[in-house]
């Protein structure tokens, strides 16, 4: 039943989003405005936009549900998110990226890499990687949001999908990054309020912090035998070292996302939107608090949902949700929180989805319009400003919506499983392709153009290979490994009708995240190729590294 209050709050929320999008549109007069907010964005807006873009519905529903299964050992991820994803990212990466971007007059992340390494190929390839793979990530978020809204408002999935996409399209196409970041700041504020309330309600209901944790610790004997066999030792203990659950918790969830965030192009471009390093310093505390009270809360509430369900139904969370991880958080909210909170949390989830999607659509547009068409292919018309980028945004939205629509209609559960891997595939791919050369671009004087190209291609290809043919979770969903080799992963073989996982010491290869494979390969390729190829002129490096004021090349 759709309550009048729910309708009132949603309409009010959308009205404010529309107003902020319109303000973005009115303030957008140039390409720099459309892509970088005129390089004058307020630190609160920048930090909240960065956080809201990073924390999507899958971080709340998906990872919150995962925390209900794994327990509080997943808190290593929000720690990395705060320390690496905010503090180190803004302090070390942010300052250098902003200054180098300004010196090279770069408007996008691929353009920064392309101009630093004086290579249109790098800019074009980075744009192709983004435009080809981010629709899958966007589709994962869009599908989840549309299903949730369809359920809440009792409307058809395709209607919810269409309405949701049109609302976001309007303010992204017209308002550019200003429209995106203004609305992000509002949406992040809603998320902060909603998730902080969830933290308070959860601890309050379970008798306080220490008591709630103790109750969860005392449930260790209720771990199902199937999970215990895979390494589960209770919800306040780490999984047993070297077991499948340990590898998933540490390599895939913690390192894959925790380190991968540094190379997300839609996040890195945020550093270039502020006026000076002072703004970045001011954004650090805002970002840190935001991540603690969003990502941190989702994991704590997810883990503690086991105590609530044990007390009320005598079951653990995953049993209550009948094995569907993504149902745990919605079920917990429905049963454990008051009616008014469900309205607030619906706005929280809408905000999480809209803020992530708007940035994804925007970067699809800049990748296609600016990086590929205008810069790499050198097709531009005088006086057309950001027309190509606006068409790029529109194309990106259409591809994502089509994916979300057709996959649900045509491929059912198989398609949904593929799309659900969209987030991790994009994170893994960006980490392999961009992280080594991004770090090299900012700090190394010795990387050559050939070295950067070799590193990017080696990282992207090794990451893709690992996800398609080895990493059990994605290779099973993508089906290609089964089609070519008759097994769901090259690291799994059948012995006497039973699956045997290939391992070396404590390493079980089918559970090792691609970031642990592609990063060393990309670094090695970059270093080796740079040793034997032509160096950049000292003038260019000096200019990029702020040693001189003369732009060269």
């Amino acid at each position: 039943m759709v309550s009048i209050w729910m309708t009132f709050f949603v309409v009010t929320y959308l009205f404010i989003v529309g107003y902020l999008g319109f303000r973005g549109y009115k303030g957008t007069k140039s390409a720099t405005d459309y892509m970088l907010g005129g390089r004058k964005v307020h630190p609160y807006v920048m930090a909240m936009s960065y956080g809201a873009t990073f924390i999507s519905t899958s971080a709340i529903i998906g990872f919150g549900g995962a925390a209900a299964v794994f327990g509080m050992s997943l808190l290593w991820l929000p720690f990395l998110n705060i320390f690496l994803g905010i503090f180190i990212a803004f302090w070390l990466f942010g300052g250098r990226t902003r200054r180098m971007g300004l010196r090279l007059d770069a408007h996008t992340f691929p353009e920064l890499l392309g101009r630093r390494f004086q290579s249109r190929f790098i800019q074009g390839t980075a744009a192709v990687i983004i435009f080809m793979f981010i629709p899958m990530y966007a589709s994962a978020v869009l599908t989840g949001a549309a299903k949730y809204l369809a359920h809440q408002f009792e409307i058809h999935y395709s209607t919810a999908l269409f309405i949701f996409a049109v609302i976001i399209a309007l303010y992204v196409v017209m308002g550019g990054i200003k429209g995106v970041m203004y609305t992000d700041a509002l949406q992040a504020t809603v998320m902060l309020v909603g998730l902080s309330a969830l933290l308070f309600l959860t601890y309050h209901r379970l008798g306080g912090i220490t008591h709630a944790h103790q109750l969860l610790t005392d449930m260790a004997d209720k771990v199902p035998p199937t999970l215990a066999a895979r390494g589960h030792q209770g919800w306040t203990s780490m999984p047993k070292f070297g077991t499948p659950l340990w590898w998933v918790a540490i390599s895939t969830i913690t390192m894959g996302v925790g380190i991968g965030v540094l190379a997300q192009p839609q996040l890195a471009v945020r550093y270039m939107t502020v006026k000076s390093g002072r703004e970045l310093n001011r954004a650090i505390p805002i970002g840190g608090v935001f991540i603690l009270f969003t990502a941190g809360v989702a994991y704590i509430a997810g883990a503690l949902s086991n105590v609530f369900f044990d007390q009320t139904a005598g079951k653990i969370s995953i049993a209550m949700a009948q094995g569907d991880v993504e149902q745990i958080i919605p079920m917990y909210l429905q049963q454990a929180t008051p009616e008014w909170f469900n309205v607030l949390f619906m706005l929280t989830l809408m905000s999480a989805a809209m803020s992530t999607l708007s940035s994804q659509f925007h970067i699809m547009g800049t990748s296609l319009g600016r990086d590929l068409v205008e810069e790499s292919l050198n097709i531009r018309k005088k006086g057309h400003g950001v027309l190509a980028t606006r068409f790029g945004v529109l194309a990106g939205i259409l591809v994502s919506v089509y994916l979300s629509y057709i996959i649900d209609i045509r491929f059912g559960k198989t398609g949904t499983a593929v799309v659900a891997r969209g987030t991790s595939i994009f994170f893994g791919l960006c980490a392999g392709a961009f992280l080594p050369i991004y770090i090299g671009a900012l700090w190394s004087r010795g990387i050559t153009k050939t070295g950067a190209i070799a590193g990017m291609l080696a990282g992207a290809l090794s990451s893709l290979f690992w996800m398609v043919f080895v990493l059990e979770k994605s290779s099973t969903a993508l089906l290609l490994c089964g089609k070519f080799f008759g097994t769901r992963s090259l690291a799994i073989s059948m012995v006497e009708g039973k699956e045997v996982f290939a391992s070396t010491g404590p390493v079980i290869w089918a559970f090792v995240d691609p970031i642990l494979i592609s990063l060393p390969i990309a670094i090695l390729a970059t270093v080796l190729a740079s040793l034997f190829t032509k160096k950049f002129e000292v003038k260019h490096i000096d200019f990029c590294m702020e040693k001189t004021g003369v732009r060269h090349g």
Partner: protein
Amino acid sequence: MLGIEDPWVVAPYLLCIASTLLCLAWGILKWNKEDPETEMDKQIQHWAEEENQVESEL
């Protein structure tokens, strides 16, 4: 500690809070600290703003 026995799980719980406090302290201490920008960077920033202004007027 805090109702959690495994130190490997207590650690990230406390580290989340500690790293947030680090972010807050950093923001307070560096609130008015300017970038280690060269004069040239300020000049480039100025040119970029002028260029943006011209493009806006066009």
